[in-house]
């Protein structure tokens, strides 16, 4: 790799009452934001706390706020986001800060559980495999939403989450939508109850920031719209 110049990187240090600390990091070819953070931790300040695991965009653990927008740091090239050789790196918004770039993700994942994001099987291991036609509309809806890696970028980018802390958020509702379309699941009524109302799909203002920022190019907005249709149908049929 070739060092071409220096980057001025402001990194959030401390908890909620912390502040930015500036580091100088050499520019390198094909350098990612995760490379920058790792360089700081390995070469300048070993006390810097941050999360990562796979480094290839699969695990969803390295999301951070980069120059004001939530991004996956392992797949974000510095060249695409830097302005005048400067970077500002902060923890994800809408989540409590543990320390430095690490946020407490408990509430984010607890909301998946509250949205009934667990699969409830109707068959046993002695039953034959369920047959789901790949071309069926329900399966296509699932395919469009299933690749979520749980990075929290949509949750951190959602204004409704910021306004209403009880709101389940785009990722949990997206997960619920995949299960609403799952013909093998046996907990559909309880799930629709869980995702309806002011803390659920009806709180979404369709601002679509979640869809704009999703690194997996999913559309939680479309999933939430699907939940609005499903709950409306359930009410009209007297099933909710």
């Amino acid at each position: 790799m070739q060092v071409s110049s220096k980057l001025d990187v402001d990194v959030w240090r401390g908890g909620a009452q912390g502040g930015y600390q500036r580091y100088q990091v050499p520019r390198q070819d094909s350098q990612t934001v995760l490379d920058v953070v790792t360089w700081i931790q390995r070469r300048l300040d070993p006390t810097l706390a941050y999360r990562f695991a796979c480094r290839v965009g699969m695990c969803g653990s390295c999301a951070m706020t980069v120059n004001g927008k939530a991004r996956w740091s392992c797949r974000t090239h510095v060249a695409k986001v830097t302005q005048d050789n400067r970077l500002t790196i902060a923890p994800l918004a809408n989540l409590p800060i543990v320390r430095d770039l690490v946020t407490d993700m408990r509430e984010f994942f607890d909301k998946w559980a509250r949205a009934k994001g667990q699969f409830s099987p109707t068959a046993t291991r002695r039953d034959d495999f369920a047959r789901v036609a790949p071309a069926s509309s329900a399966r296509k809806e699932i395919d469009a939403a299933i690749e979520c890696i749980g990075c929290g970028i949509c949750y951190a980018s959602c204004d409704v989450v910021a306004w209403n802390p009880a709101y389940l958020g785009p990722a949990a509702l997206n997960r619920a939508w995949t299960l609403v379309n799952d013909s093998r699941d046996g907990d559909q009524s309880a799930r629709l109850v869980a995702v309806a109302g002011d803390a659920g799909c009806h709180a979404c203002h369709t601002q679509s920031t979640c869809t704009e920022r999703c690194p997996k190019l999913l559309s939680p907005t479309a999933s939430i719209a699907g939940l609005k249709r499903a709950t409306t149908r359930a009410v009209l049929k007297g099933a909710l």
Partner: protein, 71 residues
């Protein structure tokens, strides 16, 4: 509030929003056309008094606002 009640409120808000979009459009076009001949209370009353159609239209308009706004 129950999930059913919250969903019904959402449906009511969406349905009245659709109705209001139409009502506001009709209202604005009507006002733009009506004002061409001058805008006086006498002329407005002359056009609308005793007109069941306009009374029903504005009655519906007010009802939609009354449902939509509080939700």
């Amino acid at each position: 509030m129950s999930a059913r009640a919250e969903t019904m409120l959402w449906i009511a808000q969406r349905a009245t929003a659709a109705l209001l979009a139409l009502c506001v459009l009709v209202h604005l076009i009507t006002m733009t056309v009506a004002v061409q001949g001058g805008l006086t209370a006498a002329e407005i009353l002359g056009r609308t008094r005793g007109n069941v159609g306009w009374a029903a239209f504005y009655g519906l308009f007010v009802l939609a606002v009354a449902i939509h706004a509080p939700i």
